[in-house]
Symmetry: C2
Subunit: 207 residues, 2 copies
DNA sequence: TAGAAATGACCGCCGGGTAAGTTACCTCGT
DNA sequence: ACGAGGTAACTTACCCGGCGGTCATTTCTA
């Protein structure tokens, strides 16, 4: 190492440290929400000083934005992949969930980041969050549109309510998954399939 | 009026004022969450001073508990009524939603109170919240148990995940409803029925 | 030793909570 | 009938702790 720009570190390169901070912060933001998460706590959990966090990310919102960007990329890329595989209706929903379970295994809290109600509604971080949330919501919208269209429903309020409900279902399953760390990704997918089957059979029986 | 105990008021009896404060606070807590809601804001919205709120409710948590008690009663009573009417499975779910739409029309934010993630997890208010949440969750559990049991599923993790999902669905629909004030209660019930029908027909078509 | 990296100590603000003061109403003695 | 005094309701002005954010100083590497 002759002329590295990040001289002065205690052996840990800056990029790694940033990653570590983002990892720790994502857990905290995801678990407690933006408002209830303190920068000092994040710093302590990451084993560094609060001032260093500010030196890296500029502000709490900056840190939040970094977490969102990582989370958003992770999810959007994966969901877009599923969107391209030609499945539709409920099947597409299950596949999307399966993909999410797989990609989020080991970082289950991440989903919550993009749907945090305590996060500020404006500012640069909100813009980042909004971009990713919109991207994901667009895909949900697309899937719901197809599902409902095939059932003869085109009312856009119906579509909008169903999109919201779908996102809520994903929320719930993620929450449950976070609360049950021993459950693996494939296990979750099978569970979801099973539960949907029960719903349908109930309707078929009692219709 | 000869010997009223609440002498000295400016014409408005205390009970009414408390009700008004709880009403205003419920809106704020429901919309912004416990953490993001300031007592001063609530007081201003209610047209009184912050100190009076403390004189009535003792603390922010006390105020919160009062809101929770009202909301919890309202909902638990109604959901228990539906639980006794003999319906089961998806049908029971829809009837529960219909009852909720009806009873919450005009106070739609109330549902969120009992499921506020930013509320403190311990303390007296949390106990009140926990009691009502447990009561409602018990009913959800009961309904899900029946639904899944009829479909041959008895695994308690499946049940637990389904309960969570059901509550999440209710959450989402309430959120959507709050965002669409022009939609009436019966309209919502029809919408939900329609959407479930679409789900089932999709499964029937694609299997 | 130069200079970047990292920190501990600090500031200002905001929000929960309190105490002292003010207003309104009731009571009772004259 | 009426006003002085007492009491409860209510408000204003303040305290205090915690958190976002900053900076002078120290520590470490090249």
């Amino acid at each position: 190492m002759t002329s590295r720009p990040n001289a002065g570190t205690k052996g840990v390169p800056r990029a790694e440290r940033e990653q570590e901070i983002v990892r720790v912060a994502s857990v905290a933001f995801g678990r407690d929400g933006f408002a209830a998460t303190g920068v000092a706590d994040v710093a302590r959990s990451a084993g560094i000083s609060k001032a260093l966090v500010y030196s890296y990310f500029g502000s709490k919102e900056g840190l939040h934005a970094a977490c969102l960007a990582e989370a958003g990329d992770l999810l959007a890329v994966e969901i877009e992949r599923v969107a391209r595989d030609g499945s539709a209706g409920v099947e597409r929903g299950v596949r999307t969930l399966a993909a999410m379970f797989t990609v989020l295994d080991g970082r289950r809290h991440v989903w919550r980041l993009l749907r945090d109600r305590s996060a500020p509604q404006d500012g640069p971080a909100a813009e980042v969050a909004g971009r990713y949330a919109a991207r994901i919501e667009t895909l949900a919208h697309e899937g719901v549109l197809e599902l409902l269209g095939d059932a003869g429903i085109t009312d856009e309020l119906d579509v909008s309510a169903m999109v919201r409900t779908w996102l809520g279902i994903v929320d719930s399953l993620m929450d449950w998954w976070v609360a049950h760390p021993d459950q693996g990704a494939e296990e979750m997918t099978r569970r979801v399939t099973r539960l949907i089957g029960a719903l349908v059979s109930d309707q078929a029986r009692r219709g």
